[in-house]
């Protein structure tokens, strides 16, 4: 017989009890619940994002976090509804003194919420930081900028190596930071409590759980219609739907097509906005089989973008026939229209093999899109192989020129300038480098040297026609549609195609 001494069993029971008590103790802990703050009109607007925002330092931060920092910080130049620069922001005027010199006027008497002056020196410092910081995602935008000076409190002079008409456009995505505070706190410290000139000021954060901003009482512009915003996040789309359905949040961003449809069916108001994010099929003209122009044309004619949008996205995407039409709603005059019969004729009987490479799970329904593109090519007589890679590996291979055939991925511009796509995809030294052609390089440079966007537009049209319609190096597929849902009674959310949101008019 073996019965343990009762002291042992008491110890083990005590251990189990301690576990249970500890759990009850910690369970009772916890701060105030943002989601339980109720729908009173004075409570902050509760905005639900798809992920925790990355660093709130706009100099090094991913643009996905812009939705949060842009409540406190302001871009140097505002944009209008058509994404064109306007004089309503921090920089109120800009002139091209000569072909390579830009002079900007800074709005007078503006201060950061910590009291620092938001003057020309602050503007020059921000542009310099953006250009010179190694981890700045916008660094390459300002590679042509040779000097940034603030000769007086109200003037900033920017000089470029070669003429560049779109400098004001680029400044629409540069957010002003206070020089002293930024230097004193460093990137990590600034991100922990950002200071800007915007309509809201930092109110605090619970690590991993929420970020709050409150109305800036000293804001230079029109005061926000709400007291503040509390941002929370949920990675899972079904959870974002459940939280808006259960009225735990006021706005739920980034609902994929399935959840947007489900939300609408459940009576939730869903807003769908065409974004500037374009999904494109890139044909590598430097390697077989697409070093043969006839086969590139065949592939371009085989792919039916309208069928993809209708069949896969059920209206949650917009067919897009151009590469350089940056603004949503625009379509180029010259387009390639699907013609499967002609595609089959061009392929003939050889059955050339095409590899389709795409980033796994990076974009909504990308697997299905790749399959649809492959199906169209097979119908035209191609033999298709698929390769699904993680996004980082795909980009690495594209940079290394190791992706033959077709690669499918997105262009996500931060600013509405065609040069974003030209420099990224069309030049010989671009990211994809899939269509090297001295003509394209020369036209790209010529476009930038024009006086303004209007004069550059015909050159971009020409570039688009050469790349898409004549050489068939690019098969634009569709533009992503962004969906967000609002709780009953919530209005005034203004979502921009470049992932910007204006909450100042939002009420509940």
């Amino acid at each position: 017989m073996m019965i343990m001494k009762s002291s042992h069993s008491r110890r083990t029971l005590a251990l189990a009890t301690a576990l249970a008590v500890a759990s009850i103790g910690v369970t009772a802990c916890g701060g105030p619940d943002p989601a339980d703050s109720g729908p009173s009109s004075s409570a902050p607007i509760r905005a639900l994002l798809a992920a925790q925002p990355a660093t709130l330092d706009p100099i090094v931060g991913a643009r996905s976090a812009q939705i949060v920092w842009a409540t406190m910080l302001e871009p140097l130049i505002n944009t209008d509804a058509d994404l064109a620069p306007t004089d309503t922001g921090l920089l109120t005027n800009w002139t091209r003194t000569d072909a390579t010199t830009w002079t900007f006027t800074v709005r007078p008497d503006i201060s950061f919420s910590n009291g620092e002056k938001a003057d020309a020196a602050a503007v020059a410092n921000t542009i310099t930081l953006t250009r010179d910081t190694a981890a700045s995602p916008l660094k390459s935008y300002f590679g042509n900028v040779t000097s940034i000076e603030a000769p007086d409190a109200g003037t900033v002079v920017v000089q470029t190596k070669t003429p560049q008409y779109n400098i004001p456009d680029l400044l629409t995505t540069v957010y002003l930071v206070p020089p002293k505070y930024y230097q004193e706190k460093g990137s990590e410290g600034f991100a922990a409590a950002p200071v800007g000139t915007g309509p809201y000021v930092w109110a605090g954060a619970n690590a991993g759980r929420d970020i709050s901003v409150k109305r800036n009482p000293d804001y230079w512009g029109a005061a926000p219609a709400n007291e503040g915003i509390t941002f929370t996040w949920a990675n899972e789309a079904a959870q974002r739907l459940a939280l808006i359905q259960s009225k735990s949040v006021d706005i739920s961003f980034d609902l994929p097509p399935a959840q947007a449809t489900a939300a609408r069916s459940a009576g939730v108001e869903v807003v769908s906005t065409e974004t500037a994010m374009k999904i494109i099929a890139f044909l590598d003209s430097t390697k077989a089989p697409f070093d043969d122009p006839k086969l590139r044309e065949a592939a371009a004619l085989a792919i039916d973008r309208d069928a993809i949008v209708k069949g896969i996205f059920d209206g949650h995407a917009v067919a897009d026939a151009g590469l350089l039409n940056v603004r949503p709603g625009q379509q180029p005059a010259q387009q390639v229209t699907a013609n499967p019969a002609r595609a089959k004729e061009l392929v003939g009987g050889g059955g050339p093999t095409v590899q389709i490479t795409y980033p796994a799970a990076q974009y909504t329904n990308i697997e299905e899109v790749a399959q649809a593109v492959g199906g169209s090519l097979e119908q035209a007589g191609f033999t298709v192989k698929y390769e699904s890679l993680d996004y980082g590996t795909l980009v690495k291979r594209i940079i290394g020129r190791q992706v033959p055939g077709i690669s499918i991925f997105a262009g996500v511009p931060n600013v509405a300038v065609p040069d974003y796509f030209v420099s990224g995809f069309m030049k010989t030294q671009s990211l994809t480098g899939n269509c090297p052609d001295p003509r394209l390089d020369a036209l790209a440079q010529e476009a930038l040297q024009q006086d303004d966007a209007e004069r550059a537009a015909p050159i971009y049209d020409q570039l688009n026609t050469i790349g898409v319609v004549e050489k068939h190096c690019y098969v634009p597929l569709y533009r992503q549609v962004f969906n967000y849902a609002t709780a009953p009674g919530v209005s005034g959310v203004v979502f921009g195609p470049l992932n910007t949101v204006d909450f100042t008019k939002t009420t509940r």
Binding site: T55, A134, G208, G392
Partner: protein
């Protein structure tokens, strides 16, 4: 202390250290295989020279051996590096998120114990009856049902349809109910099945017959004689399950947007923030190794034969 005990403890510690080193090395290698982080930070359009400058700033241009030794040195000094997306110290981020995960695991495990043990004892003491079959079916279901699906069903029922509980996020005890319930299902089923098996074995021992012959009350035989002898494997599994839950809370935290380590790990993976992924893996491995040590300690406390 006897020499044999010292040898055994030394051997155990050496084996735990080796496990930790393997985990650290795997985390390092997998981090390096996960693609170029400069793509994530700078976007695909950044020119090669900017990528090279950033790689240099991050120390990614150093030979792998040097990077590995720096990494081990960092781990030893408690410096787990800096996140590529949040630009914060990984150690402080883990420290911020850990209380949430501990809260969830403690609540889930308590629930699992409070339900699993009585369920297992019930099944063992009523072997072959409807109670036994019902308890076993429940345990089987608990082990088979996918956590993700179960969590979503609870959300739909209790948050969306009935509106009784929050659909997710954290803050109040109410927020903990559904995640803890979801978290408890698998360990509860495991504990129930193990308790049943262990108790059945204990109840078949001759000392139980002897206790019955002496007229000791039934509940006393079950809980004071049989259960305390059946407890050792249950305790072991509770501690090990706690380790698994601590490092595997990803699904539950994802479903409920619970701000713990699991969700942090998931976002780090999605962003290819390999220093943060590495840090979380290192932390998980450390916790698991320490819990294994705890199992050994508990064994030696509860069972004198192990000392």
């Amino acid at each position: 202390m006897k020499a044999s005990t010292v040898r055994r403890v030394g051997g155990r510690l050496a084996s735990l250290f080796a496990s930790l080193l393997i985990a650290l090395s795997l985390a390092f290698v997998l981090g390096r295989l996960s693609g170029d982080p400069t793509t994530t930070i700078l976007g695909p359009m950044a020119p090669p020279e900017q990528r090279a400058a950033l790689r240099h700033e991050l120390g990614l241009d150093l030979p792998l051996v040097v990077q590995y030794l720096d990494y081990l040195k960092g781990v030893l000094t408690g410096d787990l590096g800096q996140s590529l997306q949040f630009y914060q110290s990984n150690t402080s981020m883990i420290a911020d998120r850990l209380p949430y995960t501990l809260q969830l695991v403690a609540a889930g495990m308590s629930l699992a114990l409070l339900v699993g043990v009585p369920l297992g004892v019930l099944a063992a003491t009523r072997e072959g009856t409807r109670w036994d079959r019902a308890a076993s079916t429940l345990a089987l279901l608990g082990q088979s049902v996918p956590v993700f699906w179960f969590g979503m069903m609870l959300v739909v029922l209790f948050a969306v349809k009935l509106g009784w509980l929050p659909a997710g996020q954290s803050g109040t005890p109410k927020h903990l109910v559904l995640p803890a319930l979801t978290m408890s299902v698998y360990p509860m089923a495991h504990i129930a099945r193990l308790t049943r098996a262990s108790m059945s074995e204990a109840l078949a021992e001759p000392y139980i017959d002897s206790a019955r012959a002496r007229g000791i009350a039934g509940w006393r035989i079950v809980w004071r004689h049989a259960f305390k002898n059946a407890m050792m494997p249950i305790l072991t599994i509770v501690v090990l399950q706690t380790g698994i839950l601590l490092s595997g809370a990803v699904a539950v935290e994802y479903v409920y947007s619970w701000p713990g380590l699991g969700q942090l790990a998931l976002q780090a993976i999605q962003f290819r923030d390999f220093p943060l992924v590495q840090a979380i893996v290192v932390f998980g491995a450390l916790v698991f190794v320490l819990l294994n040590l705890l199992v050994d300690l508990v064994h030696s406390i509860v069972d004198p034969r192990v000392r």
